[in-house]
């Protein structure tokens, strides 16, 4: 078993350390850091932007690059949180609470340094967990049949929609909308057309990239144009100003470890992710603190814990994606998309059949995280300058890249129009408070869910009992029902509180 493990690590390292993959890793993390720093462009927009390019790369290079963008954004996102009080990414929002006060006290350098260290600690432990647990989980998942997969996906989708911001009901509804959009195209069992309205372009379904870019790129641009103000800060960050005091270090290491634990748990759970982890770990630190009033006034624990948590969660979210083929969050949906484009079936067999892809990707995380530390400590000055680029230059640039990216996949103007439609829909959804993330998750999981459901029913002659008679499936159903029950109960008790108060 252990000999095997070391063989795998060596295989992974020999894949990750080829000059080509090192280059794409550097490219990925640099881009990730860049879009992380800039508020209003997220990891998802950047990943879907580069998705078309990955068609021309070999699968390892493609994954290494997209992975780098994904975890790179969490490093970069804290920079804007600290300097501007404006989160670069949603998962860095909680870092504003204590990061910005630290910057105003002249301790911006220390805050930037500590968030980088915390990110690195969180990521490293997350990668170790990923390396140790993936083989175990994928072994276990070999026993999964259609019923287990269906129940697992239902659980993931329900948890995702309940935990995402806003009302649980809207989250669930958007999952259903997503599944319906995912089903557009040719039915693979019978070959008949579903919701294609006679358009040839819809036969293969609605393009994933177009949906993702519309919902998360274009709609974000529309919402940000008038809301991102001119940036003002003049302090230069010197290396000397970044050095933390002994007291800072003493206060931070335990919160970092606790944050990592929380992040790893929520990362592994399908449906939750970095944002939930960051908020949870902040709440935990505040509760554990001897003097909670320091929080919000530049407490270093308040930046160390959530930054460790969101990075740990980024790394561990690869566990369900790679071992089960069930994406842990929307970014992972893009990763799944890349795998499928290259003919690799994500899931328990991937570790055996495509061991070089699997371990190469994991070993590239080490490379990427070390690069990110270098990018964020000695080279922090670059990112500070990036924050000074005005948004009115940035957003036309983003739109141009969105359009070229989508167009070049199939040389199809229809795909550009799809982006337009989903961009407008996404902005409308923002206005009326419908969350976009559950929609995309539903879109990706929908066709898989239907397939497993139909297969399960076919095997069992249309008897629903199969979902509760098989123990693993029953376990997923019980978790789903209890989470649903808990959320209904807490919604009602909150309403009562409001009525009394």
């Amino acid at each position: 078993m252990f000999g095997n493990f070391f063989d795998s690590i060596i295989l992974g390292a020999s894949t990750a350390f080829t000059p080509q993959n090192l280059l794409y890793c550097l490219l990925g993390v640099t881009l990730g850091n860049l879009v992380g720093v800039i508020p209003g462009i997220g990891a998802l927009a950047a990943m879907s932007l580069l998705f078309p390019i990955t068609f021309h790369l070999d699968p390892v290079a493609a994954l290494v690059m997209l992975g780098g963008i994904y975890y790179g954004t969490s490093y970069g996102g804290s920079t804007a949180s600290i300097l501007l009080n404006l989160p670069g990414m949603p998962s860095n929002a909680v870092t504003c609470l204590d990061g910005y006060p630290m910057a105003r006290q002249g301790r911006a350098g220390v805050a930037l340094f500590m968030t980088t260290i915390a990110s690195f600690v969180g990521s490293s432990i997350g990668i170790i967990i990923l390396m140790l647990f993936s083989p175990v989980i994928s072994q276990f998942a070999l026993q999964f049949g259609p019923a287990e997969y269906f129940s697992l996906m239902v659980m993931g989708l329900v948890i995702a929609s309940l935990i995402s911001e806003g009302s649980a009901l809207k989250g669930l509804a958007m999952v259903v909308v997503g599944i319906l959009i995912g089903l557009v195209g040719m039915d693979m069992y019978t070959g008949s057309q579903r919701y294609t309205f006679g358009r040839l372009e819809l036969m293969d379904g609605v393009s994933l990239v177009a949906v993702a870019m519309g919902l998360f790129g274009v709609s974000e641009v529309i919402a940000s144009i008038r809301n991102v103000g001119q940036v003002k800060f003049t302090k230069k960050i010197t290396l000397r100003s970044m050095l933390p005091t002994k007291d800072d270090m003493r206060r931070s290491w335990l919160p970092m470890l606790r944050g990592t634990g929380i992040g790893s748990f929520f990362g592994t759970l399908p449906g939750t992710g970095a944002t939930v982890s960051a908020f949870m770990s902040y709440a935990v630190e505040k509760r554990l603190a001897k003097d909670p009033s320091r929080f919000g006034n530049g407490a270093i624990e308040g930046i160390a814990a959530p930054e460790a948590a969101n990075n740990a969660s980024d790394q561990t979210s690869f566990i369900p994606t790679l071992t089960l083929g069930v994406p842990g969050n929307v970014n992972m949906a893009i990763v799944l998309g890349v795998l499928m484009v290259h003919g690799i079936t994500p899931g328990p067999t991937m570790m055996v059949e495509n061991a070089n892809v699997f371990w190469g990707l994991i070993m590239s995380f080490w490379v990427g995280n070390v690069l990110l530390v270098l990018l964020n400590i000695p080279l922090i000055g670059i990112w500070v300058r990036v924050l000074l680029i005005p948004y009115h230059i940035l957003y036309p640039t983003v739109l141009v890249f969105v359009c070229i990216g989508v167009y070049t996949i199939n040389n199809s103007p229809f795909d550009v129009m799809t982006v337009l439609v989903f961009g407008m829909a996404g902005y409308g959804m923002k206005l009326i408070g419908l969350p976009a993330a559950p929609l995309l998750l539903g879109y990706v999981l929908g066709p898989m869910m239907e397939e497993e459901f139909r297969r399960a029913m076919l095997i069992n002659n249309g008897n629903f009992e199969i979902f509760i008679s098989r123990p693993i499936s029953l376990f997923f159903i019980i978790v789903t029902v209890s989470v649903l029950g808990w959320s209904i109960w807490s919604a009602f008790s909150r309403q009562k509180e409001l009525a009394v108060g």
Binding site: L169, L431, I432
Partner: protein, 149 residues
């Protein structure tokens, strides 16, 4: 503040409409099959009904509580939408570069911070960047400039 939660009324109505459309259109265009032998329509039509249920559950309670009216930023919305539309319409007949240039100009109308000549400059710069990255960097075969007639 308004006496009704218009956001949720709109959201509920939209979801209800989508759900009904998915199930009714689905029933008319696809075979349903049985639970054991599902046809292409079974799963989507069922989901359509579930979605309509969610829509109603969001729609009705919204009449009994107060809320805010959504505040759309119409100018940004229209400018961005028009710029994408222009790109989509122009890229095939006129080629990539005119499409990029037009997109940039139209998009810059969303806020008045960029003067027209600067937007034009940005459009040229972005065109140059696109050629460098996509044509020379990735070797994609896209027509840069074309004339439709």
């Amino acid at each position: 503040m308004f006496s009704r939660d218009y956001k949720d009324i709109i959201a509920g109505a939209v979801l209800l409409g989508l759900g009904l459309f998915a199930s009714v259109y689905g029933m008319n265009t696809m075979k349903m099959g049985t639970v054991a032998q599902m046809g292409p329509g079974f799963f989507p039509v069922t989901l359509g009904f579930i979605l309509s249920g969610f829509g109603i559950a969001i729609f009705i309670p919204a009449f009994f509580r107060s809320g805010e009216l959504p505040q759309p930023d119409l100018r940004s919305f229209l400018a961005v939408a028009a710029s994408l539309l222009a790109f989509g319409l122009m890229v095939r007949p006129f080629g990539l570069l005119p499409a990029i240039f037009t997109l940039t100009i139209i998009a810059s109308f969303a806020d008045s911070k960029l003067a027209l000549w600067r937007a034009a400059l940005l459009g040229l710069a972005l065109s140059a960047m696109a050629v460098l990255i996509f044509r020379f960097g990735l070797g994609l075969q896209i027509r840069l400039i074309a004339w439709p007639w």
